[in-house]
Structure formats: structure tokens, C-alpha cells
Symmetry: C2
Subunit: 211 residues, 2 copies
């Protein structure tokens, strides 16, 4: 079994696979490391190092086999049996994530949504059944949900996180602007869109200063 990969390696592998799947749809069969790197602003050396790290040895004179490499990355990243996911909070962001996510990765099944608003609960929204928050623990247990994506209003982020931990969730992706804390056995990823936008703004400003 492979040792646990560093976070940044996992991120890059996920990005490579996304691009490989796109290339497959375009009918491409092979890709060079420098092409794959260029599409994500990484060097060819970085790509080759990542693939050596996961012991992929499929480089040929015409580059990597796109389908084979996508499949191989899947064996590294994906759970064999698949994982069940839930979205907590079905506002605009929750619905956008649900629509965006649906069917993109066969090993990640979005099986439930939760909200407090009776206008949103007990029906299907964006393709997923939305349960009332009071059923959180029961549904997480019954449906063996291991990952939750939080898109609730900021005032509820911490309380919802705590409820998810008590319900036995194993991983949380927090889309709110409020940092939350979890016990060591739960994996937490915070994603704040402000950081991406500030990054673009910083480099735009830098380029303008150079003019």
C-alpha cells in the first residue's frame, strides 16, 4: 500500500485527472508531461515527479496514455467502494454545488441535502433529496454518509459543524467564511472564495505596477 500523499500532491493529481477526463472527451489519446503541466501552470518536472511518486510508469515516446493515466490516478485517489456525501444548506451555493457536482465522479455519491427551511425540505432539489436538519444524525447514519459540505449562513457554521461531528461524519468541506474546528479524526478543508479572488487581484495589481 502507498504511504499517505501530501495535500498538494493530492490536489495536483485531482487537477491532472480533471484535465485528462476533458482531453478524453476531446478525443485525445496521449499527452506529454509538459502539456499537462502547462495546462495547470506546473513544470513538466513537477508532473513527472508527482507521477513517479505514485509509481506510475506509463511514459512513452508519444507521452502518457490519457485514459490509462486517468484510471491509474483513480486507483490512488478514489475509495474502492465509493463514499457518500451530503450538502448542508440549500441556498444558492448549496444548489450550485449540488448541480455542479452531480455525476462528475462515480465514486463520490451525493445522497442527501439538509436545510432548516420547510419550503426546501422533504423534496428533491437540484437532483438530491433535501431533509430537515433535525433528521441530520439519523440520515447520516442510515445512508452511511462520510463527507459533508457546509454552505449554511455564517451564524450557523460552528453549530452545524459540531452536529456533523456528533453525527459521525469523517470529512468536512467548509464553504462558509467562518473557520471551524474539528477533532483530529475528522478531516477538514476550508475553502474561502475570497482567497482566490484576492490572489487574482494581487497579480493584476502587480502587473499594472510593472507597466
Amino acid at each position: 500500500m502507498m504511504a499517505k500523499l501530501p495535500e498538494k500532491t493530492v490536489e495536483r493529481l485531482s487537477q491532472y485527472r480533471r484535465t485528462l477526463l476533458n482531453l478524453m472527451q476531446q478525443g485525445r489519446t496521449h499527452v506529454y508531461s509538459h502539456e499537462l503541466g502547462h495546462m495547470h501552470n506546473y513544470t513538466a518536472v513537477q508532473v513527472r515527479r508527482d507521477l513517479m511518486f505514485i509509481r506510475y510508469s506509463g511514459a512513452q515516446r508519444k507521452g502518457y496514455d490519457v485514459a490509462d493515466l486517468a484510471r491509474y490516478i483513480g486507483t490512488v485517489l478514489d475509495s474502492e467502494t465509493g463514499l457518500n456525501l451530503a450538502v448542508v444548506g440549500m441556498g444558492n451555493l448549496g444548489r450550485a454545488i449540488t448541480a455542479y457536482f452531480s455525476g462528475k465522479r462515480p465514486k463520490l455519491n451525493l445522497v442527501a441535502a439538509f436545510d432548516v427551511d420547510p419550503a426546501k425540505t422533504d423534496r428533491v432539489i437540484a437532483g438530491v433529496y433535501c431533509y430537515p436538519m433535525r433528521q441530520l444524525r439519523q440520515i447520516i447514519s442510515e445512508k452511511d454518509i462520510s463527507i459533508a459540505m457546509i454552505t449554511v449562513p455564517v451564524d450557523h457554521a460552528i453549530e452545524v459543524t459540531n452536529e456533523l461531528v456528533l453525527a459521525g461524519i469523517k470529512g468536512i468541506l467548509n464553504f462558509t467564511t467562518v473557520p471551524v474546528t474539528v477533532p483530529p479524526h475528522v478531516y477538514l478543508e476550508e475553502y474561502d472564495m475570497i482567497t482566490s479572488i484576492e490572489k487574482v487581484a494581487y497579480f493584476v495589481t502587480s502587473m499594472q505596477k510593472q507597466d
Copy 2:
């Protein structure tokens, strides 16, 4: 003037500032490097290295002054005069981003939205005026918009990117799953939520294997 910072440093500085602003709201006046690091899963050494890198020398026995450090990071990250932003595509994600973003950073002004759907255009949505796509060039020029966030359906991502480049945009944040390309004078950041979710899934699976 400071040399251009590496991308990862900019990301971390943005994250530190977000947390500092949250701490300020909670009434905290000082924070230690190990606390600030811990909140983002970085080491204290990393935090101190980043702040030395931007020549911040405000460490005291009781830690950094929260307000002073937040302000200092602002002088590094923000444009002095501020930048104008637009959202292209006012579906669920566009509306979520608009609502999420509004008023969070005084130097980044979301001044316009664009959509092709007549039901969404020529009115205010989530606090921002939504123009028809055919006015893209005119409004970007008139309102001096330098950054665009793309949340259009995948089939339109490339076409919209090309139109934005022709309209003179300087930075693009692409939220669609389709990678786009831009000329070297435009800064591009691709953000695919799938990567964040796959990262959580990978580490949840790793932890289960250890059990």
C-alpha cells in the same frame, strides 16, 4: 517596492488576513504565530517566514497586534486605488458568489454582473446590476473593470473567456470545470470545487484504511 510574491505566499497572506479580521470581530487584540498557523494547519515557522518575507516586524512578547497585522497585509495585497470586478453568469453559483462577496473587501468592488437570460438582465440581482452579455465590452470599459469571475455553463466558458480578453480584462477567476487559456498579460486562476472535495475524500479514505 517589494518583489512579486509567490502564489502560495499570497494565498497564505489572504488566509491570515481573513482570520485576523475574524479575530478582531471577536475582540482579540493579539495572536501568536503558532495560533495563527494552527488555524490554517501551517506551522509557526511558516507564518513567521511569510511575515519576514513581507518585512513585517511587529512580533511582541504577547504575539502580533491583530489589527496592525491585518492592516499591514492589506498594504501588501491590496491595490491602493481598489479594483472593479464583474461576475459573468448569474445562475446559482453567480448569485452565491455575489452575495458571499458583497462588502467583504473594501478594495475590491463588485460593480456589474452579466447574463444572457432576459429574465435576469437590466435589473439588480443580489445587490449588483445585471447587464445583458452584448454590453460586456462597453460596460467593462466604462466601469474600468479589471477582474471577471466566470460562472457560465460549461459550453460557453471558452467563448466568454475570449470575449473578456478582447474587452481588456486583466484577471479571470474561472469557476467552471472547463480549463480556459488566456494570453500572458491576463492572470488566470482556475477553481474547480471537485479538487477540494476529492482532497477530503482521499484523506477520509486514508484514515479509514489506517483503522
